[in-house]
Amino acid sequence: MFSTAMSGAAVVLEGVAKRYGAKMALERIDLTVPAGEVSGLIGPNGAGKTTMLRVLLGLVGRDSGNVSVLGHDPRVEPMRVRAQVGVLLDHDGHYDRLTAHQNLMFHARAHGLDVREARTRVEMSLRESGLWDRRDDRVLQFSKGMRQKLAVARALLHRPKLVLLDEPFTGLDPAAAVELRGRLRSLARYEGTTVLLTTHDLHHVERVCDHVTVISEGKTVARGATRALLARAESEAVEVVVAGEGGLFEALEAMQLEGLLIGFAPEPRGDDTGADRMIVDCTEVQRKRLATELVRRGVVLEELSPRQLTLEETFVKLVTREPQP
C-alpha cells in the first residue's frame, strides 16, 4: 500500500483499470492530485471521468491498480473516504420534493453534524449561495443554475478535505461561474482544501486549475501543471500569416497529404488587414522545415511564429493523438 501522505498528494491513482462486462471503462489511469490545490480532470465524453470519480468514492471497485484518497484505499475504507469528501456528481442529486433547507439538513446530518451545528452550517451555506430567501421552496421549483449552486453548497457543507466536482459550472451564469472559480481558489489557498473538478468548459480549467490531467478512452494521455501543459503544446504549434489569399490553404493541404505536418486550422479574421491566418500543428522537426516548404510552394510569408494555444486547443490535440507510453 502506498501512502498519499508521503507524496504530499491528496489523491493518487496508479495504473487503475475497471471493466464493465465487455466494456473497458478505465484501461490505465494514472492521476496525482496535489493536496491543497485545484486540479482539473478533462477528457471527451465517455473517457472514463465518471467511473473514475466512482472509484475514488469506493462506489465501484477496480480490477487492478492502486488508489489512495487522503491516505485511505476507498475499496477498503469507503466510509472514511466519504466522510472527508464533498461531492457533486454528474446529476445534482437533489431530492426534488424536499426544500433547499431540508436537502442540506439531510446531508449535514448524514455527515454526522449535530442539529445545532447542522442548522448553523446550512444557514451559512444558503446565504453564501444566495439561496437563503428560497430556502423553503421545493428544489423542484429551482432553475438549473440554482440547483447547481445548491449542489456546490451541499458538497462544501461539512467542510471536506477533498472536493470532487463533476461539471460544477454547468447551468451557471457568467457571474456565478466567476464567483465559483474564486470560491474554489480561496478554498484551496486559504483553507487547504483539495479540489478535483471535471468540466468540458476548458476556459474555466485554464483559469482555476493548478494541475490538469487529460484522459481519453480510459487512459491518461497527459498530466501536469496547467502552465507546463500549455507551454508544451505551444512548442508544437505555429501561426502562419500571409497577405490576402496567398495560396496558403492549398499549400498546407498538400503538405498534410505528404505527411509534412499533422494538421492545420484557419484562424478567424479578427481584423481588417485581409491577412490569411492558419494555425499549423506540427512536430518540432516539421516546424523547422515549414518555412522552407511553404516558400518552395510559392507562398509569400508575412509572419511565422510559435502560437500560444488555448487549453481547449491543447486538449483537442492530446485526445486526438495516440496515448503516450
Binding site: V87, R97, F106, H107, G112
Partner: protein, 232 residues
Amino acid sequence: MMRGLGAVLRKELQEVLGDRQARRGGYVQAVMHVLVLGVLLPASQVELWHAKHPVTVLFFALLPGVAAASVAADAFAGERERHTLETLLSTPLAPRTILVGKTLASVAWGTIVACVSLLVATVTVNVASGPFVPAPVVVLTAIGASAASGLIMSSVAIVISMKVPVARATQQIASIATFAIGAAGVATWKALGIAGTWTNALLAEVLVAVAAVAILEVAGLLFREGALFENQ
C-alpha cells in the same frame, strides 16, 4: 448510527408526506385503506368488536403492510430513477443505516394508516352501536399487526427495489409479493390449526417481525453499491 438513521428516516418521511402532487397515488391508497379498515369492516362486524374477537384485527395485518410496501418499493428504484441514489451512497451512511432507515420510514407510514384506521373504526362502532372503547389488547394487536406486516412486506419490497431498475415495475412486483405473503401467512395459520386467540396473534406478530429482520439481514448482504446504480 442513530444520527444517520434519524436523518434517513426523517428524509424518507419528508419525501412521503412532502409533495401531495407526487404522492397522490399513495394518499388515495391510504384513504382507501382507512375506509376499509375504519368504516366498512367495523360497520359489518360491530358485535365482533364489542366481543373483542381477534378477527377484528385480521385486516390490520394486511392493508397497512401493503401501504408500507408501496413506499418501500420506491426506496432504491425511485432514487435510481430520480438520480439521487449515487449522491446518497456518496455520504458516509453505512448500507445498514440506509436500509433500516428506509424500512422504518415505510413501516411508520403503514402504522400511521393503521392508527388512523383504528381511530375511525372506534368512531364507526360508536356510531353504529353506542358507547364503545377498544380494549388495550385490541389496540396493541392491531398496531402490532400493522407494524409486523409492514416490516416484512417493506423488507421484501426493498429487496425487490434493489434488484429491479424501474420504480413502476418494482411497485407491481412488490404488490404481487405482498399479497402472496399475506395469503401464505393466512394459509399457514389455517394449515397449522392454530387457534385465533390474542396470545397466538401476538406471538405470530413477533415471529413475522423476526422473519422481517432476517430478510433485512439478507438485503444487507446483497447490498452492493456499484450494482445499485450501474444502469443509471
